[in-house]
């Protein structure tokens, strides 16, 4: 195979992947009302965005939800990974299987099953139902990230700590957690992003009391074009990019 053919091909596909995003960013600074032709540089859509109180509220709601969902799923996910890694117990395979099913099953299946559960137990749809749902779909990703770190982890390290006089708890605090910290941070960031991005599950389990950003965007873009969405999308893009670079940086640094 000659060298330029694969390179040209790669470049072409990357271009196709990024053109829509570039268009979005460029149009977010467009002064035109119609959203199709160029009307000069302007920040009016950013202004409109921040003057829209419902929108700002949805942003805060989403941020808070993503923060709490990522944190809770990181805690539970890390504990699960530790239990799977350290302990032998009955039903380990079942536990693993359930996590795998959550990760692989179509989001919509998870969404309706959770909706059915929340209605059955009479849970008011809102922040709590969103949190439970988001933690559930983030959980397997955190578990996998932490497990990957633990699998490269020397089994003897916890024993060495115990041998030198550390109790189980002290060992966890001084050895286990510092060693898996990069994975915890990466898992947290992944959970944060997944939660911030989710449309499918949230559509089913959110209520009018707690409007979140993706659903607000969804209701805006279903009909016609809304230039504010360009501005919002650009902001989200920058935000995700920062988060992604942060997580990559953490993972790369820990490998050295």
């Amino acid at each position: 195979m000659s060298r330029w053919l694969p390179r040209t091909y790669l470049t072409l596909i990357y271009l196709l992947l990024y053109v829509p995003i570039l268009v979005l960013v460029v149009f977010s600074f467009n002064d035109s009302r119609t959203g199709y032709e160029w009307g000069g540089l302007s920040l009016r859509w950013y202004e409109a965005l921040f003057n829209n109180r419902a929108m700002v509220q949805a942003m805060w709601n989403s941020l808070w939800l993503a923060l709490s969902a990522a944190t809770v799923s990181t805690i539970i996910g890390a504990l699960t990974a530790l239990a799977l890694h350290r302990y032998r117990f009955r039903g380990k395979k079942v536990l693993n299987g359930m996590l795998f099913i959550v990760m692989m099953s179509p989001e919509i299946v998870l969404a309706i099953s959770l909706l059915a559960l929340f209605l059955l137990v009479g849970l008011q749809l809102g922040y709590v139902s969103l949190l439970l749902a988001h933690v559930t779909f983030c959980l397997p990703f955190v578990v996998i990230t932490v497990m990957a770190r633990l699998s490269g982890f020397d089994e003897r390290l916890p024993e060495a700590a115990r041998d030198l006089g550390a109790s189980d708890f002290t060992m966890t605090r001084t050895v286990l957690i510092p060693v898996i910290m990069p994975a915890l941070l990466a898992g947290w960031l992944l959970g944060f992003t997944l939660s911030l991005d989710d449309v499918v599950v949230s559509t089913f389990v959110s209520g009018p009391s707690y409007e979140i950003l993706p659903l607000r965007i969804y209701s805006m873009v279903r009909v016609g074009l809304k230039p504010e969405v360009n501005a919002l999308g650009t902001l989200l893009l920058v935000f995700s990019l920062v988060m992604l670079m942060l997580s990559q940086w953490i993972l790369l640094r820990s490998k050295r």
Partner: protein
């Protein structure tokens, strides 16, 4: 074995994890299975008696047509992703190591970007007076704007755009594992390029292909917001049907039955993936 009393940490963790998964994964899925064999009820969503009406309704020509159309669009999406992704992953694995990290990074940036926003960006391009039509017209290639938005093609483009990285990443993983010495050995034993491709490369990358198919085909039937934004009312996915049954039509048994069919499809694909991995001597996931 030490008793639970001596390991409070272990006990607490196991209770928490099991509790969470039983309450939020196991029970809900059981509820869906239960709902699918019950009767529709406008007040309480579902009620007795048990029956298979919902599954019979799936075979109703009206819905069957929607399902087949959804399956067709998902299959096309998967095929296009595979056709684009296979050479892409191959080329990517040939790039110098230090550049691969950056290229992979560029590939997952979109994955970390809000998918609604990206779908919306496609709308900007595909709209009747959107960028693509304007560009084609100013180049003189077309006289009249083409109807691109709200077509089957638009839905497939949207799905491919969102799901392509999920096809490429598992393929890249298998190509990355494919050692050059195997290819050299094949050439050394007298196989030409084509024979090597058919007898060595294809079997060894098959698990990646199936993993990619699994990661693309199923979401391509469920991502209801793509047709909502790009496809109009005539190009529905199974996901749209399930959503409508649950949120609008309030026909839970039917929605549940449809989602069980999706789950079974997932189980089938996972099984095929496992089988292909076992064939080349790797443990299933």
């Amino acid at each position: 074995m030490r008793s639970a009393r001596q390991q409070p940490f272990r006990t607490a963790v196991l209770i928490l994890v099991w509790g969470w998964l039983l309450f939020l994964v196991f029970t809900p899925n059981l509820l869906v299975v239960g709902a699918s064999v019950m009767t529709r009820d406008p007040g309480t969503f579902i009620s007795l008696p048990l029956n298979l009406d919902a599954y019979r309704q799936l075979l109703n020509p009206l819905y069957l047509e929607v399902f087949l159309h959804s399956l067709y669009m998902a299959a096309m999406t998967t095929l296009i992703c595979l056709l684009i992704g296979y050479p892409f992953a191959w080329s990517l694995s040939k790039v110098a190591r230090q550049h691969q990290v950056l290229l992979i990074f560029l590939l997952i940036v979109p994955f970390w970007t809000n998918s609604l926003v990206r779908t919306y960006a496609l709308k900007l391009i595909l709209a009747t007076n959107g960028l693509l039509n304007s560009a084609l017209m100013s180049l003189g290639l077309i006289e009249e704007p083409l109807q691109m938005l709200y077509t089957e093609g638009a839905v497939i483009i949207g799905l491919v755009y969102l799901l392509l990285p999920f096809m490429i990443l598992p393929l890249y993983a298998v190509f990355d594992d494919l050692r050059d010495d195997l290819l050299r050995a094949s050439h050394d034993l007298g196989a030409g390029r084509f024979s090597t491709f058919i007898h060595v490369i294809v079997p060894l990358t098959l698990p990646g292909v199936l993993a990619g198919v699994m990661l693309v085909l199923l979401p391509a039937m469920g991502l209801f917001f793509v047709p909502d934004i790009l496809g109009g009312s005539r190009n529905l996915l199974v996901g749209n049907v399930i959503k409508n049954q649950f949120l609008d039509a309030r026909n839970w048994p039917f929605g549940a039955a449809a989602s069980i069919v999706l789950t079974l499809a997932m189980a089938f694909l996972m099984f095929a993936h496992r089988l292909s991995k076992r064939r080349i001597g790797e443990e299933g996931v």
